[in-house]
Structure formats: structure tokens, C-alpha cells
């Protein structure tokens, strides 16, 4: 079951959902709009490798924003710290974003229960597109769970800026 906007509001007030800062203006009938933060990261190399750490460089956005180009991946972040120890968040773009041909996540819309931090956004534009810091770029929904809850304790916990992939760490584990 998915939470309605008023229920999201209630659970933010109860402390069962973290959305910080929270502004009721950004509530939708069954989701909450998050905004694009001012920092982007891009990978230095064109060719990436899942087995090795891929170096990134940081771009600080000014008021005029930045033009995103196809064939390049940009990691962004939400302005808001978001998460819950009771519900599972699922993110997506707003339809206003999709109509511009902008992906705000790539393949992974599902957030682990217990993750609390700024979400890393995986920005990919189908056509060149200017984005602005602070724009309402996506939405988060909250879903009820079935079963005992074990909270997320993973490597991206508590991120405050775009977090590049740490999948290379998997290869160092015993198979």
C-alpha cells in the first residue's frame, strides 16, 4: 500500500518519515516533490569499470544551472534528507521532468528501509537540457512493508552529496 500525501505529512510530524527540510507545498496527492541540490558529480573517464573505483569531479551549480548532455552521466543529489525506518521509499521523476526527457534515476528506484540521507540522483538527458538548482525535479513515494524490519546499514548511509558507485568494493569480498 502506498501512502497518501496527507499520511506522508502525518508521518513526517510523527517522526516515522524524515523529509528535511519539509514544506507542505511540495506534497502531492500520493508523493512528495524533492528538489535538485547544488552539487553534481561526473566521472573523469568516459569508460567506466564496475571492478575499480571510477574517479569523479565535482561541479558546483550556480543560479543559471547547467546543460546536461546525452551520453554523459551526471550524479546529483536531493536538497532534502529523506528516509524512513517504517516505510520503503520509491523515487521517480515528476511527469514534468519525464516530459523533458530527463531520467532522475537509472534502474534503481527502490530505496532501502532505514536509509536516511540525501538521495543520489542519476541524471541522464535524452536531449540536451538545462537544469537549475532548487528545481522540483522528482518525487518520492512511501510504501508499507510486510515482515520484520532490518534497517539499512550499507555503504551509502547518510550521504549528504552525490555518492559515486562503490560497487567495486563487492569484488574485494569473498565470493
Amino acid at each position: 500500500m502506498i501512502l497518501t500525501g496527507p499520511k506522508i505529512h502525518e508521518e513526517v510530524l510523527n517522526g516515522n518519515i524524515v523529509i528535511d527540510p519539509f514544506d507542505p507545498v511540495q506534497l502531492n496527492p500520493n508523493s512528495y516533490d524533492f528538489r535538485l541540490g547544488s552539487k553534481l558529480k561526473v566521472y573523469k573517464n568516459l569508460e567506466l569499470d564496475t571492478k575499480n573505483e571510477n574517479e569523479t569531479e565535482t561541479i558546483e551549480l550556480t543560479e543559471s544551472g547547467i546543460v546536461l548532455y546525452p551520453n554523459k552521466l551526471y550524479l546529483g543529489h536531493t536538497v532534502e534528507k529523506i528516509g524512513s525506518e517504517k516505510y520503503v521509499p520509491i523515487i521517480r521523476g515528476k511527469s514534468s521532468t519525464g516530459r523533458l526527457g530527463l531520467f532522475v534515476h537509472i534502474t534503481a528506484d527502490l530505496i532501502d528501509i532505514g536509509y536516511i540521507g540525501r538521495f543520489t540522483l542519476m541524471l541522464h538527458a535524452v536531449q540536451p537540457l538545462r537544469v537549475l538548482p532548487g528545481m522540483r525535479i522528482g518525487q518520492v513515494t512511501f510504501w508499507k512493508v510486510f515482515g520484520d524490519i532490518k534497517l539499512y546499514e550499507g555503504k551509502y548511509q547518510g550521504s549528504m552529496e552525490p555518492a559515486a558507485s562503490q560497487v567495486y568494493k563487492d569484488f574485494k569480498l569473498k565470493d
Binding site: 568516459l46 564496475t50 550524479l75 534502474t107 524490519i149 558507485s165 569484488f171
Partner: protein
């Protein structure tokens, strides 16, 4: 409702979820990490006639990995057999791979209740990306349904439009839906 990791483990043990082989270390708070098997197909569909067989370049991902190129579509397959007679599976990539620009499943992440097989993965990348076989590449979640009893006597028409009988990367069979 989405199943928590503990519930997924419980239901694998009770036989209500099929994840084979199953390893507890691959359980997440509300999903299960699946791995990429070694078979990969670079696929090109016929632009003039959707009913014609696509050109398939089949390969085995070597030890040193394989670099996926942008603007191409690849079909892979999960290492695990995945499914459930009771819950609806939803299969996507991991955020660790999304952060590298890898799409896993293109628009269709929803599985059908009652099927259990190795899922064909639809892979495409934003930037060139080296992947390895047996790496933990995606996650599958399971969802509680309503109206499960209605399935009785209305079994999924496997012969018509199911890919559930396949356990290797399998190209689109859209032609079967064209009538």
C-alpha cells in the same frame, strides 16, 4: 505491501518464493541481490519487419569482463532462478550500477505471479561500462497481492506470451502479440 528482507528469507524457506541458489548474504532490507550470468547477447532488431528474427551476437563474458557500449541493447540473464507463486516480483538494477549509468530492464520491471525461471535482463548504458559475470548486478523485490484466488482456473497462458519457459537471454517475441 513490499516484503522486507526477513520476510523474503522466510518465504524462500517455506517455498513461497523461488530464489535459487539462495544466499543470505545477498538479502537487502527490502529486496534480494541477483547476479549476472555469463551469457550475453548483443541484439539488433529488424527495423522493417518486427516479425523477423533479430540479429544476435552471442558471447560469453570472459574473466576480464566485457565493455558494454552506449546506444546498443544487450540481453543478459540472471544467474538465479527467480519467481513466486504467491508474490509479484519486481526486478530492477542496484543503485550501485545505476550510479554508473547502467539500465537494467527497460521500462518493464514487473514479473508475473506463478513463473519461476532465469530472467532475461535488458541492459543498456549511458557511458561505456565494463561488467563481469557473477557480479551482483540487480535487485528483486516481492509484493503482496490482492485477489490471488482469482488466479485459480485462469493460469497464465504460458504458451502464448510467456518467457517463463526460457532460462537464457531471450529476444522479444512481440510478433506473437500482433495476432
Amino acid at each position: 505491501m513490499i516484503l522486507t528482507g526477513s520476510k523474503i528469507t522466510e518465504e524462500v524457506r517455506s517455498g513461497s518464493i523461488c530464489l535459487d541458489p539462495f544466499e543470505e548474504s545477498l538479502v537487502n532490507p527490502n529486496s534480494y541481490n541477483y547476479r549476472l550470468d555469463k551469457d550475453l547477447v548483443e541484439i539488433t532488431y529488424n527495423v522493417d519487419d518486427i516479425k523477423l528474427l533479430p540479429i544476435q551476437h552471442k558471447l560469453i563474458i570472459p574473466e576480464e569482463g566485457y565493455v558494454l557500449q552506449p546506444n546498443k541493447l544487450y540481453l543478459g540473464v540472471t544467474y538465479e532462478t527467480i519467481g513466486s507463486p504467491k508474490y509479484v516480483p519486481s526486478l530492477i538494477g542496484r543503485s550501485s550500477l545505476g550510479r554508473l549509468g547502467l539500465f537494467l530492464q527497460i521500462t518493464a520491471d514487473l514479473g508475473h505471479i506463478g513463473t519461476c525461471h532465469k530472467w532475461t535482463l535488458e541492459l543498456t548504458v549511458v557511458q561505456p561500462l565494463r561488467v563481469y559475470s557473477k557480479m551482483r548486478i540487480g535487485q528483486v523485490s516481492f509484493w503482496v497481492t490482492e485477489g490471488l484466488e482469482l488466479l485459480n482456473g485462469h493460469e497464465y497462458k504460458k504458451e502464448v506470451n510467456s518467457y517463463a519457459k526460457y532460462s537464457e537471454p531471450t529476444h522479444s517475441q512481440m510478433e506473437k502479440l500482433l495476432g
